[in-house]
Amino acid sequence: MVGLRTIAVLGLALTTAACTNPDRFGGGGDAGAGVGSGSATAGAVSPAQDPNSPVFFSQTIGDRVLFAVDQSTITPAGQQTLIGQAGWLNRNPDFQAIIEGHADEQGTREYNIALGNRRANAVREFLVSQGVAANRLRVISYGKERPIEVCASEACYSQNRRAVTVIAAGGLS
């Protein structure tokens, strides 16, 4: 059940994120860059401007936080993003979320899966501290299996050390 629902939402996220920073496992990483200003002046409310839309969540609020090497501590910038995420989740109680933890490739496969889990849980705990019900949040770790940037330097590694909050409609279990 979870798998099916998740796939449907991932498909949406992929479509909307395709023109910015493609990430099969979440929305665009560059907040607000996903929708051209042309559509904003056309009169109709685009999904990115609807503050209750998942697109707004992923692109305007920002669906991800980044981590330092080996760390799972939420940075001050990450806290701001997560406060925004928590606000959205609290305003939209019908949605659930899956938090995906990731690591860069500088580590063994097994350890990075555990590290990604630690990061995803740090995000979950923060969201819960902001009033989001714990049973609306589920975590998964991809370890180093799903990098979004593939260069072999800190510029890429820093983008891969991430936790992405993916909005899912319906229940999680």
Binding site: G107, E110, P147, C151
Partner: protein, 441 residues
């Protein structure tokens, strides 16, 4: 001959550093020197075809026997071009002088018969300089399509008689076959002969699969799969490729499984609330035992050969290091104290060494250390080496080497436990996470 080689190999295994040996001309006299190891010269004349249809497969088997032995780095094949006499008949006495003259210290002769689909291979091994046969003649029966296994069995027998150790040629490796770009890599389980031949796929690539591990008998494989949407441990039957999800203790994610040495239990990592601990599950009773309770990451467990201990990776000290605890948990002692981060420890089948991945100063290494952490030796260095697995006889380690960057790919490599003979295992496409199975019956 056998005794001498046993001694030398034992010295290599036991010595903290490379214990180089040199084979010299003349009657078998092997001297340990500070130089490089001089491989033992051997000759494999093309095996006799006892039936007309056997000519091609006899030639193929002879070549593969030579390839297996040369591939160890311990032996050097003398080119058939140098042969003075050919061995026309398997039954004929050996003309030792002709083989001494070209300095062949070992001579392997054989005969192959094909009857329909059935294949029979006979072989003899000679100690040329003492002019005696080493062990008796042996005969293997199999099928024509399975001719490679017959060759591997001959090579295993020769290797074993000369070195006094078990062989590893007639063995299989389960691994993850990779394709596609680095940010959207498709992975599927595959199995192959130790030398990269006969690749067969066990799963499709619809879900991420990671780190397969053979059962001690080689009939089942544990692996981590995202098939359910979340990391779970699956077990697959190699022959039928029937698979099922393992019933583990309750957790967000289960991964990094490994069989106990009797194949009845599985030890693995379970993640809950950001904390990853080790558990073990009895496959017969379904009973789960929690082995660690620290708030740190515990993963990559591996049993000692006697089943009494588990070596694993933990970051309880702040960085990933190697620890050993009893098989039922309890107090663990840290064994890695060198610079850098240590992971993926694997106990050798002999019990004397632990192979590991080490990360230090921007490089990855495959290394070995004694079980008390002493005599650490790094066998490889590259931007990304990881995940060692032992050959059945504990002499060779296979691992994953990944090249970095957008076009980076994973490949399998092997290296002798002494650090010599590093080479790629030829596999089409990308490959990672090898796990070496037992010698086949």
């Amino acid at each position: 001959m056998k005794r001498l080689w046993t001694l030398i190999l034992a010295a290599v295994m036991a010595g903290g550093l490379l214990a180089p040996v040199q084979a010299q001309d003349g009657p078998l006299r092997l001297t340990i020197t500070d130089g490089v190891i001089e491989p033992l010269p051997f000759a494999v004349p093309t095996f006799e075809a006892e039936t007309p249809q056997a000519a091609q497969v006899a030639a193929d088997i002879s070549r593969l026997v030579a390839q297996d032995l040369s591939g160890t780095g311990l032996f050097r094949e003398i080119s058939p071009d140098a042969f003075i006499s050919q061995v026309a008949s398997f039954a004929q006495p050996v003309a030792y002088a002709d083989w001494r003259a070209i300095n062949a210290q070992a001579l392997i002769t054989g005969a192959v018969a094909v009857n329909g689909d059935n294949l029979t291979v006979k072989f003899r091994l000679y100690d040329v300089f003492s002019g005696t046969e080493l062990g008796g003649g042996l005969q293997f029966a199999g099928t024509v399509p399975g001719w490679r296994r017959m060759a591997h069995k001959v090579a295993d027998a020769a290797y074993s008689r000369i070195t006094g150790e078990g062989g590893y040629f007639d063995s299989r490796v389960v691994f993850v076959s990779e394709s596609g770009p680095k940010d959207n890599r498709a992975k599927r389980l595959a199995i192959m002969d130790y030398d990269g031949a006969n690749v067969q796929f066990l799963t499709d690539s619809s879900a991420i699969v990671l780190a397969p591990r053979f059962s001690p008998a080689g009939d089942r494989v544990l692996y981590t799969s995202y098939e359910s949407g979340f990391p779970r441990i699956n077990v697959i039957d190699v022959a039928s490729v029937g698979r099922r999800q393992l019933s583990t203790a309750e957790g967000e994610m289960a991964f990094s499984p490994r069989f106990s040495r009797d194949g009845r239990e599985v030890v693995y990592s379970l993640a809950n609330g950001g904390n990853t601990d080790l558990y073990r599950t009895d496959l017969t009773t379904g009973a789960h035992t929690r082995l660690t309770t620290t708030p740190s990451i515990e993963t990559a467990p591996s049993f000692s050969p006697d089943g009494s201990q588990i070596v694993f990776e933990s970051d309880r000290s702040g960085t990933p290091q190697i620890y050993i605890m009893g098989a039922n948990g309890g107090e663990a002692r840290r064994v890695s104290f060198g610079e850098g981060r240590y992971g993926t420890p694997v106990w050798s089948p002999r019990g004397d060494l632990i192979a590991f991945t080490k990360q230090n100063a921007g490089r990855f290494h495959i290394g070995v250390m004694r079980t008390d952490g002493s005599e650490e030796r790094l066998l490889t260095a590259s931007p990304l080496d990881e995940g060692p697995t032992w050959s059945p006889n504990g002499r060779v380690i296979m691992f994953t080497r990944e090249t970095l960057g957008a076009s980076g790919t994973s490949s399998l490599y092997s290296v002798d436990v002494s650090g010599r003979n590093l080479k790629a295992v030829p596999v089409n496409g990308g490959a990672s996470d090898p796990a070496w199975g037992p010698l086949q019956p």
